[in-house]
């Protein structure tokens, strides 16, 4: 079962700044430990977002493919 989501960001149909930039913006103001969901209709972001999460050292929880979009969960680790 999913961890309780603290904040959900709907970045579907967003070409610019795009889902990852929206996620970065949101993560900055969330407290450590908070679980953030990002919704993206962009296939590239579904790959880039987990890569960034690993690179920066947050906790990647999961990606779920829905009808025409992806839901990605991340836990702020630092």
């Amino acid at each position: 079962m999913d961890a309780a989501i603290n904040t959900s960001v709907d970045a579907r149909d967003s070409y610019c700044p795009g889902p990852l930039m929206e996620l970065i913006r949101t993560m900055k103001r969330e407290p450590v430990g908070s679980v953030i969901e990002i919704l993206s209709s962009d296939q590239g972001s579904a790959k880039d977002i987990p890569e960034w999460i690993h690179k920066v050292g947050h906790e990647y929880l999961r990606t779920e493919e829905k009808e025409g979009f992806w839901s990605i969960l991340v836990k702020k680790a630092k």
Binding site: V9, D10, A11, D13, S14, Y15, C16, P17, G18, P19, L20, M21, E22, I24, R25, K28, R29, G44, D48, E51, W52, K55, V56
Partner: protein, 379 residues
């Protein structure tokens, strides 16, 4: 009693909405059936895209600053009195002077501002061109630059997503045609996996970087600056040395928004089609201050202002909501000192930038002057 519309913010969005309302509701405003009150933090209107040209000595203060009153329809009441509190339930805005402005409809267009202080060392170690003072300081630094590494580092979130690329190409053109040729290098950093948010722009820009020998690093989010060692650190763990650092500092909305409890970091939750504040149909939000996940740009603001003004006119004249915003954004992109391209997209249409040309560069320069017609609601 007539309908009272209050507009907060005399920048791009607020001014266009005010002037379009005066055009569409002229009869009602003359009769006193509709009142439009604008609260502005300043008596001046500033054309912010001009800052980039100021940094290169290509535009002067007089070209980018006008009296706000001079570009506002005479039917609009201007109060140079910043709003300090928005009471959504009580439908009242309180200004710094203590005066209250009750409204039937509210338009919030308070824009965004840079917050370099949010990144340790950035204020001390970096230059920027996102305000007039910073642009002038950068102009001096570029004039005095004697060679070495210039780092252009992009923070999140920021307005005008193409400006960082534009400035990079403009500096390269400037220095490659000067005595500094061969004595400088450019290094560009970007927060996500590619060099620009828009995939086709990133694709095109990487080719231009490679052709020009500009280095870059992606997945780079500025963590801190060490002005002593002249080093830039990323949250992802890299460290880059610089001789001249040009940052695009992170942005926030106006303090008024957070002070009034309307949105974290000053971004107001806004319906992406109706442009009304979520849950409040009589409050319109236009420009940078929305939380809509699209580019914070003057063009976005302009198209949103068109939509909001049309909706307000329709609501007042016919009692029905007006048109829906389709997410349209249009941006000129300078690709050097003498060429440019443009990109447009909306919620459903991906961007597709064309070949850079001299003509588009000239058009951008022309738009720098035509802006004053846009603000007046003429263009």
């Amino acid at each position: 009693m007539g309908k009272r519309i209050v507009i907060i913010g005399g920048g791009t969005g607020g001014t266009i909405v005010a002037n379009l309302l005066a055009q569409g509701l002229r009869t009602e405003m003359r009769r006193g059936d509709v009142t439009v009150n604008m609260l502005s933090a300043s008596d001046k209107h500033v054309y912010q895209p001009g800052f980039m040209y100021v940094a290169f000595g290509r535009m002067q203060d007089d070209e980018i600053i006008r009296d706000q009153r001079s570009i506002l329809d005479s039917l609009v009441n201007l109060y140079v009195d910043p709003a300090v509190k928005i009471d959504i339930e009580g439908q009242t805005v309180t200004a710094k002077s203590g005066r209250s402005f009750p409204y039937d409809y509210l338009v919030i267009a308070t824009g965004s501002r840079i917050v370099p202080e949010e990144i340790p060392g950035l204020k001390e170690g970096a230059h920027w061109f996102y305000d007039l003072q910073g642009a002038k300081k950068l102009r001096k630094a570029l004039k005095e630059f004697e060679g070495g590494r210039i780092v252009i580092a992009v923070g999140v979130p920021h307005k005008c997503p193409v400006a960082p690329l534009e400035v990079t190409f403009m500096i390269d053109d400037l220095f490659s045609n000067s005595h500094l040729k061969g004595k400088y290098e450019l290094f560009y950093t970007y927060p996500i996996a590619r060099v620009h948010a828009l995939e086709p722009v990133a694709h095109w820009a990487v080719k231009a970087f490679e052709r020009r020998g500009i280095q870059y690093e992606t997945f780079f989010n500025i963590e801190k600056v060490d002005p002593e060692k002249k080093q830039l650190h990323s949250e992802e763990g890299s460290v880059i040395d610089y001789d001249l650092l040009i940052a695009i500092p992170p942005h926030k909305g106006a303090p008024l928004i957070e002070d009034s409890g309307l949105g974290a970091d000053g971004w107001i939750p806004t319906d992406k089609h109706t442009l009304t504040m979520k849950g409040k149909e009589n409050v319109f939000v236009v420009g940078d201050t929305t939380n809509i996940p699209i580019s914070k740009a003057g063009s976005t603001t302009h198209f949103e202002a068109d939509t909001a003004a049309e909706s307000l006119i329709c609501l007042i004249k016919e009692g029905c909501p007006g048109r829906r915003y389709d997410g349209k954004v249009f941006c000129f992109v300078e690709t050097g000192m003498d060429k440019g391209t443009y990109v447009w997209f909306n919620y459903n249409t991906p961007p597709n930038p064309g070949e850079p040309s001299q003509m588009i560069h000239w058009f951008k320069l022309a738009y720098n002057r035509l802006y004053w017609l846009s603000a007046r609601g003429i263009l």
